[in-house]
């Protein structure tokens, strides 16, 4: 019977190619636009490290101005970053399994290859634990040690791409690399790593490229490196040297810890609260106690990585889909009721209501599947367009298998829902109606 219905459906669909293509195109447009919006949203709201996201925490201490909150629009929040003093103090705790203080720096690389001119590059100044903390594998070599951090040894880990560029892709561990006119030793080459969103530092955009070079945290003091990310100060301080700047109430360090269980989490919260209480005695931290450790997904939410515009677009794309569906219902109603005399004859010849209903729904399902497939095409086009509009968003605009599945499934489901009413209407055609009239 199902095959008979399929045959009837295909005959009916091919009998009116214009109406059928109009319906498929309408479903496809609605689904395509909606899927494009959802894809972007889904990647923005992506969990970048699912297997560890509940044990990785961003640390915040409220060291801000007693007169006003860090963000006037978010008065309950603490500053997003830490002062140098506090970042260094937190490194003394042995509660976290792994931890890393970090900030972005701008360096000038002077390649030994004569064909390459010196160039400026962003790097991450951080602790050796950074790689294990965020699960970044190594191609060659390994991370540096805690001692190297403390001593500010001139070591560097470069990414695979940068290694390809500077050393032709060979094992460069042990080689020297001239940075800011100093000799750095390459200790490792890390795999290219592109978390979406770039959760470990969303201050200057959550979707831009991660740094391709990493240097020990102690090097900053040695080379007097300011952050090339965000630095915010609140206190009226007379800062005349880098050394004074390190001691200032300026926040510019991000801090991440790995706390494997509830026990460590509670212990760590107690530790930072205790630390701040101590500092209060010294006259710092005049604001109420407000220290936060926030897991990855909550952190991305707090930092509003998914922007309002994207939420508005999802809403509008959804309404567009609804309009397309209303259109489909109208078209189907037209088509089905056009077939009413034929249905009346079928009914007179013994087709049950259920049979008529099923026949219509199968037709609708086929339409939905075709619309879903064509919708993928539209989604792909829409994403291409979005890449044009937002250079740098390339990694947010890609379709994966999940999205393909969701697109087709949602097309079929929504179309069938849209088809329920027309199918119900037509199966209620009384058998005699079109035989008696005239």
């Amino acid at each position: 019977m199902f095959r008979y219905y399929l045959k009837l459906a295909s005959r009916s669909l091919f009998a009116a190619p214009a109406t059928t293509s109009l319906m498929v195109a309408t479903i496809a447009l609605g689904i395509g636009i909606f899927m494009a919006a959802v894809t972007i949203y889904y990647l923005m709201a992506n969990n970048p490290i699912p297997h560890k996201s509940d044990v990785l925490y961003a640390v915040q201490l409220d060291s801000w101005d007693p007169a006003q909150a860090y963000r006037e629009d978010l008065p309950e929040q603490a500053p997003w970053e830490l002062t140098y003093i506090d970042a260094m103090a937190l490194r003394e705790s042995d509660i976290p399994r792994r931890q890393a203080a970090m900030h972005k720096v701008s360096l000038v690389v002077q390649p030994t290859r004569v064909d390459l001119k010196p160039f400026q590059a962003q790097a991450r100044l951080t602790d050796g634990d950074f790689f294990a903390l965020f699960d970044i594998p190594f191609v060659y070599g390994a991370a540096w040690s805690r001692d190297a951090d403390d001593a500010g040894q001139l070591l560097v880990v470069i990414s695979k791409s940068r290694n390809d560029e500077l050393f032709g892709g060979e094992d460069s561990t042990g080689r020297t690399l001239r940075i800011n006119d100093r000799e750095f030793t390459v200790v490792g080459v890390s795999e290219d790593w592109y978390p979406v969103p770039k959760y470990y530092d969303v201050n200057n955009g959550a979707f831009d490229e991660p740094e391709q070079m990493f240097i020990p945290s102690g090097v900053g003091r040695e080379l007097e490196l300011f952050s090339s990310g965000n630095t915010n100060c609140w206190k009226d301080e007379d800062i005349n040297s880098f050394e004074e700047f390190l001691g200032a109430e300026c926040v510019w360090w991000q801090y991440w810890v790995e706390l494997p269980s509830e026990v460590e989490r509670d212990a760590y919260q107690a530790f930072i609260d205790g630390y701040v209480e101590e500092q209060k005695e010294l006259g710092r931290f005049a604001r109420p106690l407000n220290n936060r450790i926030t897991a990855v997904e909550q952190w991305l939410e707090v930092r509003q990585v998914v922007r309002d515009d994207n939420k508005v677009l999802i809403g509008i794309a959804f309404l567009f889909l609804v309009v397309c569906l209303f259109n489909i219902v109208g078209l189907m109603l037209t088509k089905f009721l056009g077939k009413a005399p034929q249905i009346g004859i079928r009914r007179a010849l013994g087709a049950s209501r259920g049979a008529v209903f099923r026949q219509q729904l199968i037709e609708v399902g086929a339409l939905g599947a075709a619309g879903g497939l064509a919708g993928l095409g539209f989604a792909w086009l829409a994403l291409k367009g979005i890449q044009q509009l937002f250079p740098g968003f390339e990694h947010l605009a890609r379709l994966d298998l999940t999205m393909v599945g969701i697109a087709i499934a949602s097309a079929v489901v929504t179309t069938v829902i849209a088809g329920l009413y027309p199918a119900w209407r037509v199966c209620r055609v009384p058998p005699g109606a079109y035989l008696r009239l005239q």
Binding site: G30, Q110, N240, L319, F320, F326, G330, T334
Partner: protein
């Protein structure tokens, strides 16, 4: 006009008209809100920056090595850059306005404790900054070469600035402050406002205080800075490559990067707003198209269903225009029901967006404009099918069974 019978007839076949009215209502709600957002974004993108953005080239000089000294290199670089034919004015600047990266600080209008402080963007610039940015001095004077300081540390207090009218008024809310006014830095040091600018935009285009900007005549003791090179009209693209060559030739212990036109920088800062506007415009057009097709579809169906009745009407004396009008009126009634519901929906959607996101309340005039647009769309959509209906031969009445 026979509104009554048309209305009663529509009520008999209500599903189609109801669907259409709902579709029109949703379309109205979406397009009115979307067009409003588009308009706001366009206003935002096109508001005057106060600067001669279209003729400016910017470039970053990033020194490395112990022997590089920015404070020594700047005067030499400026002289070389000014010598390029076609260059109107040049200044060094710690940052580039509209670029999304910059330096903010706070000033106060009085030295009293607890005097309110106002945020602003701060640019460390050189003598010819007013000319190089192409900003208009409303009153007071521009910097001279003697004003420019080369401090050895960050902490040296500033003594004189040029600031925007917006910033000055924010510092002195009672108004009327003029060039010559004294403002105070975070440490309470007095700063003289020697010049007031009409308008100038700062670093972050999404920031409410974008127009709070001050220029400070100073070259900081750091390794990196930008040059703002303003070319004579039409000369920008010719000057651009020479800027890079000149800087590289002057000193090779540095990286010369980010050679970009200022308009390119501005455009990329507004990328999100422009992208949003374009995406919304596309969705609005598609929606209008889909709804338009829907109207044509429904009207064609209505005509097809009533071929015989149209023939009968013609047989009993209806003129072509009567038939035309019948369908126009029927469609107009559906559209009107749709836009009435839609107006309520539009306001509701706007309320929801204002409550959930940082969006502005809808200008109420957009609603009647949208209603008019949809009325027009309805009439255009029904015109074809109605014309077809009016061409139906009255002989149909006797020919069909």
């Amino acid at each position: 006009m026979e509104f009554g019978p048309i209305w009663r007839a529509s009520l008999r076949n209500k599903t189609g008209p109801i669907l259409m009215a709902l579709q029109i209502a949703l379309t109205l709600a979406v397009i009115v809100n979307a067009v409003f957002i588009i308009k706001q974004r366009i206003d935002k993108i096109t508001r005057p920056t106060g600067m001669d953005v279209d003729n400016i080239v910017t470039v970053q000089s990033f020194g490395f090595g112990e022997d590089f000294n920015l404070q020594e290199s700047v005067p030499q670089d400026l002289a070389e850059l000014e010598a390029i034919p076609g260059v109107l004015a040049v200044t060094s600047s710690q940052h580039v306005p509209l670029s999304g990266s910059g330096w903010g600080t706070e000033l106060a209008g009085s030295s009293e404790d607890g005097a309110p402080r106002v945020n602003g963007a701060q640019y460390f610039v050189n003598a010819d900054a007013v000319n190089a940015f192409g900003v208009k001095l409303e009153s007071g004077r521009a910097f001279t070469a003697e004003d420019v300081e080369y401090p050895e540390s960050f902490g040296v207090p500033i003594s004189q600035v040029i600031m925007t009218r917006a910033y000055l008024d924010a510092l002195f809310p009672e108004g009327g402050a003029q060039a010559g006014a004294t403002v105070y830095d975070k440490l309470g040091n007095p700063v003289t406002v020697i010049g007031v600018l009409d308008t100038m935009h700062g670093a972050w285009v999404g920031w409410d205080e974008l127009e709070n900007v001050m220029l400070v005549p100073r070259v900081m003791p750091v390794e990196s800075n930008y040059y703002i090179v303003r070319a004579e009209p039409g000369e920008r693209d010719r000057v651009m490559p020479q800027v890079e060559q000149t800087l590289l030739a002057t000193n090779d212990r540095r990286v010369v990067k980010s050679l970009r036109t200022h308009s390119e920088i501005r455009d990329s800062s507004y990328q999100g707003d422009r992208g949003m506007a374009v995406v919304l415009a596309v969705v609005v057009s598609l929606m209008v198209m889909v709804t338009g097709v829907g109207i044509v579809g429904l009207a064609s169906f209505a005509v097809r269903q009533r071929i015989k009745q149209i023939g009968t009407r013609r047989a009993v004396g209806a003129r072509r225009q009567d038939i035309l009008r019948y369908f126009m009126v029927e469609n107009w009634m559906i559209t009107t029901a749709g836009v009435m519901l839609g107006s309520v929906l539009t306001i509701a959607v706007n309320y929801w967006m204002v409550a959930s996101f940082e969006l502005e309340r809808l200008d109420p005039l957009y609603v009647p404009a949208g209603v008019l647009a949809l009325w027009l769309l309805g009439l255009l959509g029904v015109a074809g099918p109605a014309r077809k209906a009016s061409a139906i031969s009255p002989a149909i009445a006797t020919r069909t069974v």
